[in-house]
Each structure stands twice: as C-alpha cells, then as structure tokens.
C-alpha cells in the first residue's frame, strides 16, 4: 500500500520541480528574437483602437522589464506589439502602473546597429506630467553612453493613460539613410538589437529598467494587407440572420394563436 503512494509523491515532486524550472528559465530569459508582422498603419496617438482592430495585425508579446537581470523577480510585466508597413516600423508597449508614483516616467528603446548591443540611437517618450497627459517624443543619439539630442528628430511617438493602463506607441521609418548618422539606418533582412527602457526620472541612462530584444526587420517582402471588413457589417450579417429566423418564428407563433382562436370560436 505504501509503495504506490510514495511513487505518486515522487512523481508529483518531479512534475512540480520541472514546472518551476520552466518558470525560472522564462524569467531569466532576457533576449528574444521578434519578427514584425506586416499590417495596416496604426495611428500613433497613444490609444489602441480595439473597435477598428488597430494593431490587430501585430505580434503581441508578453515580456518583463528588469532593473537587474540577475534579480528577474522584480520585473515589470509589459505587453509589446511589433508591426511594420511598407515604410515604417511600429512598436507599442502597454502595461499597468500607478500613475501617481511615476509622474515623470519615460519609456522608449535603445537601438544597436548590430546584434551585439552597442547602442547608438534612442527613441523615448518622456512624461513631464503624466496625470495631465503631458509628454514629449525625444530622439537621441548615444556617444560614449552620453545621450545627445538629434538635430532632426526622426519618427514619432505618443502615449496615453487609460485608468492604470499606459500605452506607448512609436513609429520609425525604414530604409531611409540618415546622412547625419545620428539615427540607426534600418535596412532589410538585418537584425537589430532593441533594448526597451523604462525610468521614473528624466535622466538617461541612469535608473532604467531594461530588457533586450532582438527585432528582425523583414522589409521589403511587403504585400498590402487586405482591407479589414468592418466589424459592424459582420455583426449585422451574422446576428441579422439569427434575428430574421427569430422574427419568422415569432410570426409563426402569432399565426398559430390566430388559428387556435378561430378554431375555438
């Protein structure tokens, strides 16, 4: 009687240890290769319009931002969407945070021209007053870890706060050679190292949580996406058909009632 109990106990422990190991591996993981999907151009306004399926064609990834990669348990969970159209790369970051504690929060990404992580470009959205929704999109180049503002800001960015949910949206052009060499030139079939950064005070590069992500740009394999069929039209067709059957049934009940009345009289 004892043996099967012991076996079950050992088996359960082995399963639990295996499951814990998987979780640990996932938590320690700091670099992911992501390939942007091709989708319809989103509006960079800090709002993900779910009614119009904005960002619907994008890959959604759940990641953590870590202050210290050796202590992964302090990670900040984020949702990351990556997408591109014919001319631009789009990135959206969304997470839940208490806005009162982070009035001067910034979120952005550092870009390296290679896979090694020698960052030379930075795109940030810096809040000056999150409660009032005041922010600025900033384009820096990095020289010996010093952040210097670009002469010409490239790309666009916007952020929006909805309750406790913060959405950051970025758009940056692909295949444009920046002659001033202050921006990373995104070329096709190359892999770039992106490091997502997060901070609470407008000082760079100090005090940032980060997570390294490799993003591979797939351009120019571009096929224009099919125009999305309006959600309302599909709803009207599907529920309209059911509604019509329902009306037909109600009508047949009414007819039957009249018939019964006639028979009784």
């Amino acid at each position: 009687m004892k043996r099967p109990t012991n076996k079950i106990l050992i088996f359960t422990i082995i399963i639990l240890i295996s499951l814990s190991s998987i979780t640990l591996i996932q938590n320690v993981k700091c670099s992911t290769t992501l390939i942007p999907t091709i989708g319809s151009t989103p509006t960079i306004d800090g709002v993900i319009d779910q009614q119009n399926n904005e960002w619907g064609g994008a890959n959604k990834n759940s990641l953590y931002l870590y202050q210290n990669l050796s202590l992964p348990e302090n990670g900040l969970p984020i949702d990351l969407w990556i997408m591109q159209d014919q001319t631009s790369l789009f990135i959206s970051i969304q997470f839940e945070l208490d806005p009162i504690e982070h009035d001067e929060e910034f979120v952005g990404f550092l870009i390296s021209e290679d896979e090694l992580g020698d960052y030379s470009d930075a795109r940030l959205i810096q809040f000056s007053n999150m409660s009032a929704g005041e922010f600025q999109y900033l384009d820096y180049y990095i020289n010996n870890s010093v952040f210097i503002l670009d002469d010409d800001s490239n790309g666009e960015g916007a952020a929006g706060l909805d309750g406790n949910k913060i959405t950051y949206e970025y758009g940056t052009p692909i295949e444009i050679n920046d002659e001033s060499a202050q921006d990373v030139w995104f070329q096709t079939q190359f892999t770039y190292n992106f490091s997502i950064i997060f901070g609470k005070t407008p000082s760079y590069p100090e005090g940032i949580l980060k997570n390294n992500i490799l993003i591979e740009i797939q351009y120019p394999i571009f096929t224009p996406p099919n125009p999305p069929i309006d959600k309302l039209i599909i709803n009207m067709i599907i529920f309209g058909v059911i509604g019509l059957v329902f009306i037909y049934y109600v009508n047949s009940i009414r007819k039957m009632r009249d018939k019964v009345k006639r028979l009784r009289s």
Partner: protein
C-alpha cells in the same frame, strides 16, 4: 357523471393545457429574445465586459458570453418544444440542429467561447436525449 359532462370536462382540461403551453411558448420566446439581445451586445463585442489582458478576467468574460448563448438555446428549445406540441408535431432533429447552429454562430468572434459553447450544447443535447430516452 353523464357522458356529455365528462366530454365537456375533458375539453376544458384540453383548453387549459393549450393555454398553459401557449403561455409557456410566449414567455420562453420573450426570454430567448432578451438573451439573444444581450448575446449580441457581448458576443458582437459592442460592449466589453472586461478590458484587460489578465487571464482570469478573460476566462470569466468568455464564461459570461457562453452562459448567455446557452440561456438563449435553453429558452428557445423550451419555446419550440411547446410550439411543436401545440401544432401536434414532435420537435425533430432538423429543428434542434437549426437552433444549435443559430446558437453556435453567435460565438463566431471568439474561438474559446465557440469551443465552450459547442461543448455546452453537446452536453445539453446529450442530457435532453437521455432524459427523453428514460
């Protein structure tokens, strides 16, 4: 009791039964209609129950959607069963399939809701079949 009195009594009982069945048809149809409208709002994603990425809330959201479709199906099958009884015909397989399809396509937007609804309908139909058998 005389033969005429007995016939009148039986006739009166029959009329009462019909009235009850008819009232049941109306009530079930009205309830089915209400649940259909609620199902349009939630399953058509006109109203969002929980706008979050938390798995537990998403699961509850799906369950609520499934429940409204199932309630639509249950009340409509009661209504149709009574309606058929009044017309003197049994509820046939075609009617059940049609109602199941109409219930199932309400979940077309969400594959999880679709799978749960399909499972729920199969369980319910199996239960009704076994109940009929007994």
């Amino acid at each position: 009791m005389s033969k005429i009195k007995k016939e009148n009594h039986l006739k009166k009982n029959q009329v009462n039964d019909d009235k009850f069945a008819f009232k049941s048809v109306i009530r079930s149809t009205v309830l089915g209609g209400i649940f259909f409208i609620v199902s349009i709002l939630f399953n058509g994603e006109i109203l969002e129950i929980f706008d979050t990425s938390i798995l537990l809330w998403n699961f509850i959201d799906s369950i609520i959607k499934v429940v409204f479709i199932m309630l639509f199906f249950i009340f409509m099958i009661i209504s149709m069963g009574n309606y058929k009884e009044l017309t003197g015909k049994p509820l046939n397989f075609k009617d059940i399939i049609l109602l199941s399809v109409l219930s199932l396509i309400q979940a077309f937007r969400n594959p999880i809701v679709f799978i749960f609804t399909l499972a729920g309908l199969l369980i319910l139909l199996a239960y009704l079949y076994l109940l009929q058998d007994n």
